[in-house]
């Protein structure tokens, strides 16, 4: 019996097989890995947002002087600054609290030291003679022989001149802006002494002030300046009764509000302004801390309670952060709580050894210093993103200065005391609004176009039309956006009447023309069978041109001469030049090729034997289209729409250039919006790395990713169900 062996596979072929398998496998794995890596990176950046804050006692230093009036530290917490009653400013190493430098500023003794509002480096001190002196403390980094060293300087301002407080001054406050210095002093008999030095420079002497005395109620009052030094709070420490004064100039103060901080009959225990002094935090024995904010009302700005937080222990001290709207509350039971206003969160707490005399945040709010006659505790704080919470990101938040809780995205401002508004809702709204109007424009055109092209167009014309529309997808969206924002938007604004009427006239025109066309002799109709769409082009161009050229006539006829003002006065809609109408058209054009191409493939791919089966049963072309073709192609058409929607949601350049990027929540067709994608593009370059703002932008990227992921997954599920039901394709 002859033995027979199958030929072995050649080495070369085996090698090619193995290599192909490996390369393809590696490619697939690499794609998945890349997506996971992007996801992972997004999560890695976002994760710190959700880390909870911690407070931890780092050190307790004994043996400090007992005459400290104020504590401060430098930005990087290398030096602790003590302002002492003996007229000296002492700098101590933050680590050991050894004295590194001591500068005697004055030979007289001080009784009180406080910061000059709203500066962070300037102090005003009151000496035993009721003289107010001003000085600035600076920390400078120097490199001497490549060795880093911190140089502390104390600089007397105003040529070391001082200001004499009136006799029996109980309380004073100072405000300094670029051009003026304001001082308020309240005496025991209730007189409020207002002083203003205008156009004063650091090296000017304090002389020739404007001075004005007004009378107020007697009592233990706490009087201090409000925002920009143009407001004055005058608060009775005992009863919580307060007066709010508007001080455009010290000569013309005006009382705008008289009310009380008392909460259901309970008097406040402590009142502290937040950063910027737009709000006051009012603490109570019940453990409630109420935030009162200057909000605009019919009679001007007044203080209103906008938020309250409960700490469940009587509040003894409140101290606010220097750069954010956070604060620490220290209870009479010696618990220090860390809290944040915008997000309405109590973040962390720690027990203190003794009730502190002085409490201060470090400038970056990463340390809390508590001083209690000779003892200084340093509490370390990890609290990078207190302003974020689920509610602050998605819900309505009552921000400082607003009349009511709102959804708002306003991430930055020129002011340092600005409260960032990080509500993602307006951006989500804008994203969906832009996509919605784009889809309203795109779906009818793209799907109807696909139906016509696949079913009725001659093969010759289809061979031109389909690739033509698909090439539109390759058009850079920056060009579309640029044209939409700079060319289309002004045209639409100038010819609003005719643009709106085009949406009515063109469809009517098409129907009228079709009716006329069907009345023509069949010889004419048959001669351009399948090309009849081409004949529509001149008709549409002519109709559009006619509508545009009779814009003014039509406007006079329908809209009293001006559609824009008619829309505003009659319909009550405001008109922005860059609005959802422009986006609908421009982004609609951008997604039409995607929808058209996929839908056309689906419709064209409906097997001819199904179409013939239907026609053979006596169905008309229209019946066959509706009952068989569209039904069978429905999974594909649905996918096309969802992919188009995904594209519209993620589209960046068009919305960036043609929406105006105003993060407002208004469905109005004539107003703009800001989308997630545009927001990331606009703000990422100016966002400080690892700041809350930075991480929120990454969060929006993740949200955007999730939206597309959810929509695509839902679309895929629906498509699969449709396909098992209708598809034998």
């Amino acid at each position: 019996m002859a033995s027979y062996t199958l030929p072995k596979i050649s080495d070369r072929r085996r090698w090619i097989n193995v290599a192909t398998k490996r390369i393809i496998g590696a490619g697939g794995v690499a794609v998945i890995a890349a997506i996971l890596l992007i996801m992972g990176y997004l999560f890695w950046v976002i994760l710190p947002i959700f880390e909870s804050a911690t407070m931890e006692r780092l050190a307790v230093h004994q043996g400090l002087p007992i005459d400290v009036l104020a504590i401060d530290s430098d930005d990087s917490f290398e030096t602790v600054t003590l302002i002492r009653a003996n007229g000296a400013v002492e700098f101590r190493s933050a680590a050991t609290l050894d004295v590194v430098n001591q500068i005697t500023v004055s030979s007289s003794s001080w009784v009180e030291a406080k910061r000059v509002f709203p500066l962070t480096d300037t102090y005003v001190v009151r000496d035993t003679n009721d003289q107010l002196s001003f000085f600035r403390v600076t920390h400078q980094v120097r490199y001497i022989d490549l060795e880093r060293s911190l140089i502390q300087r104390v600089e007397r301002l105003f040529e070391a001149s001082s200001f004499q407080l009136p006799e029996n001054t109980e309380h004073f406050d100072a405000f300094r802006s670029d051009e003026d210095l304001r001082i308020v002093a309240r005496t025991i008999d209730g007189t409020i002494h207002l002083v203003e030095f205008e156009e004063v420079e650091d090296d000017f002497e304090l002389e020739f002030p404007d001075e004005n005395d007004i009378t107020g109620p007697q009592g233990d009052y706490y009087t201090f300046f409000g925002p920009r030094g143009r407001f004055l709070y005058d608060v009775d420490r005992k009863s919580g009764a307060f007066r709010l004064l508007l001080v455009p100039s010290v000569m013309r103060p005006r009382i705008v509000q008289t009310a009380s901080f008392a909460n259901q009959g309970e008097f406040p225990t402590v009142i502290t302004p937040l950063l910027g002094r737009h709000s006051l935090m009012v603490g109570h024995d019940s453990g409630m801390v109420v935030q009162w904010s200057l909000t605009s009302s019919a009679s001007g700005s007044i203080l209103r309670p906008i938020r309250s937080m409960s700490f469940e222990e009587p509040i003894a001290t409140l101290v606010s952060e220097h750069r954010r709207k956070g604060f620490a509350a220290i209870s009479k039971e010696r618990t220090a709580f860390l809290a944040y206003t915008t997000s309405n969160r109590v973040l962390a707490e720690i027990e203190l050894d003794k009730p502190p005399q002085l409490v201060a945040f470090s400038p970056r709010a990463d340390r809390l210093l508590t001083y209690n006659g000779s003892t200084l505790s340093v509490i370390g704080i990890e609290n990078a993103h207190p302003e974020l919470s689920w509610r602050a990101l998605w819900g309505k938040v009552w921000y400082e200065g607003y009349e009511e809780p709102i959804y708002s995205w306003q991430s930055s401002s020129a002011d340092t005391d600005f409260e960032p508004k990080f509500s993602l809702t307006p951006l989500l709204f804008g994203t969906l609004k832009a996509a919605f109007y784009a889809m309203i424009f795109a779906i009818p055109l793209a799907v109807a176009g696909a139906i016509y092209t696949a079913n009725f167009m001659s093969a010759g014309m289809r061979a031109w039309v389909k690739p033509g529309i698909e090439i539109m997808a390759a058009l850079p969206t920056v060009i579309l956006g640029f044209l939409a924002g700079l060319w289309l938007a002004p045209i639409v604004e100038d010819h609003l009447t005719s643009v709106l009427l085009c949406f009515i006239f063109l469809p009517i025109g098409i129907l009228l023309f079709a009716t006329l066309w069907s009345r023509l002799p069949s010889r004419v109709i048959n001669s351009c069978d399948g090309w009849s769409a081409a004949i529509l082009i001149p008709v549409l161009v002519l109709l559009g041109w006619l509508t545009l050229s009779f814009d003014q006539t039509l406007a006079n006829l329908l809209f009293d001469g001006d559609a824009k003002s008619w829309v505003y006065t009659t319909v009550g809609l405001e008109y922005d030049q860059r609005n959802a109408l422009i986006i609908g058209i421009a982004m609609g054009l951008a997604v039409i090729p995607t929808i058209f191409s996929i839908a056309e493939d689906a419709i064209y791919g409906v097997p001819q034997h199904l179409v013939h089966g239907s026609l053979a049963l006596g169905a008309t072309r229209w019946q066959t289209l509706v009952r068989v073709v569209l039904l069978t192609a429905s999974p594909g058409i649905f996918s096309a729409i969802m992919i188009g929607f995904g594209r519209a949601v993620g589209e960046t350049m068009i919305v960036l250039m043609a929406t105006g990027n105003t993060p407002i929540m208004d469905l109005n067709l004539f107003q703009g919006m800001r989308t997630f994608a545009a927001n990331i593009a606009v703000e990422m370059p100016e966002s400080e790395a690892n700041s809350s703002h930075f991480r929120i932008l990454f969060l929006t990227a993740l949200v955007l990713f999730l939206i597309t992921f959810i929509f695509n997954t839902a679309a895929e599920i629906v498509r699969n169900r449709l396909r098992t039901r209708y598809g034998n394709l």
Binding site: S458, D529, G530, P607, H609, L610, H612, G613, S614, L615, A616, L617, G618, A619, T620, Q623, R627, V628, L631, T632, R725, Y726, G727, N728
Partner: protein, 289 residues
């Protein structure tokens, strides 16, 4: 066995000695063409020529199709038999480059007349294709499809119609419990019978069967053939087939087409036992095809 024909005449049936076995139910004598009376004629084709662009597909075809009989069209591939079949319900209109001359009269009415509504014509002339083509809908909806096209109809009436059609297509017993399941889950033979049920649900006069069993297995094929026998009592059936045994088994008359010409047209008996044309004999005996 005696069968009543339309006119009430009774005809004696005799066994016909042809080589292929014929089901008993089909045994009857079809009248020879010279015995046809005018009222027996359902479709009359005269001088029909058809060309795809410059290529002639059918040349001067003239024939008559007898009412309530099965007429088979046979011939080698590309001879034009399917094209001819598709002329009867004007399915060739769907092809852009087709040119047709000559006349086709259905019950004395010219089907190419400009006043004819093609959709109405196709309701009278149903068609079943080579590949089963049920719609991606339920079994019920497939059968109801053609009925619904003609306008709204009460649900009970529609139910009755669907049941009637499925029974007539010998499918009712198999599907009565799963009418709402997708038709795509049926076997090929069931699908083809479903398509036939769909066609007869609108009660056409004529049924065109374009190689209805060519994609099916032998068992399904025999079911379809049995069905054709049953259906001819109500319908005029034209069948195109490649399978000569099938033509012999199911048809009363057979036309042989070759290169677009109707070479010979007579009773099936004559065509298969005693053709007058040499070409026919050559084809039947398998010399070419």
């Amino acid at each position: 066995m005696t069968i009543e024909n339309r006119d009430g005449d009774s005809m004696n049936t005799t066994n016909v000695a042809i080589e292929v076995p014929v089901p008993q139910s089909a045994v009857e004598v079809a009248p020879a063409p010279h015995e046809w009376r005018d009222e027996d004629i359902c479709i009359e084709v005269s001088d029909l020529s058809l060309a795809y662009g410059e290529t002639a597909a059918l040349t001067n075809i003239s024939m008559q199709v007898v009412r309530q009989r099965v007429t088979a069209l046979i011939g080698p591939s590309g001879c034009g038999k399917s094209t001819l079949l598709r002329c009867f319900n004007r399915m060739n209109d769907l092809i852009d480059s087709v040119r047709i001359s000559g006349r086709i009269e259905l019950n004395g009415m010219e089907i190419h007349a400009p006043t004819v509504d093609v959709a109405q014509l196709r309701r009278r002339v149903g068609m079943v294709f080579q590949r089963p083509n049920p719609f991606p809908k339920s079994i019920y909806e497939n059968v109801a499809y053609g009925v619904r096209l003609q306008g709204r109809i009460p649900k009970s009436e529609l139910d009755d119609r669907v049941e009637w059609a499925l029974k007539n297509a010998a499918l009712w017993e198999e599907v009565r419990d799963r009418l709402n399941e997708s038709a795509l889950g049926m076997s090929g033979g069931q699908q083809q019978r479903l398509v036939i049920a769909r066609a007869i649900a609108i009660q056409p006069d004529v049924l065109l069967l374009d190689e209805p069993a060519s994609a099916l297995d032998p068992i399904s094929t025999s079911k379809i053939e049995e069905l054709i026998h049953q259906l001819k009592t109500d319908y005029t059936i034209l069948i195109v087939t490649h399978n000569m045994q099938q033509a012999a088994r199911v048809s009363d008359y057979t036309g042989f087409l070759y290169l677009g010409n109707l070479v010979e047209y007579d009773t099936t008996n004559i065509i298969f036992t005693n053709p007058t044309q040499k070409q026919t004999e050559d084809y039947i005996t398998g010399r070419y095809g």
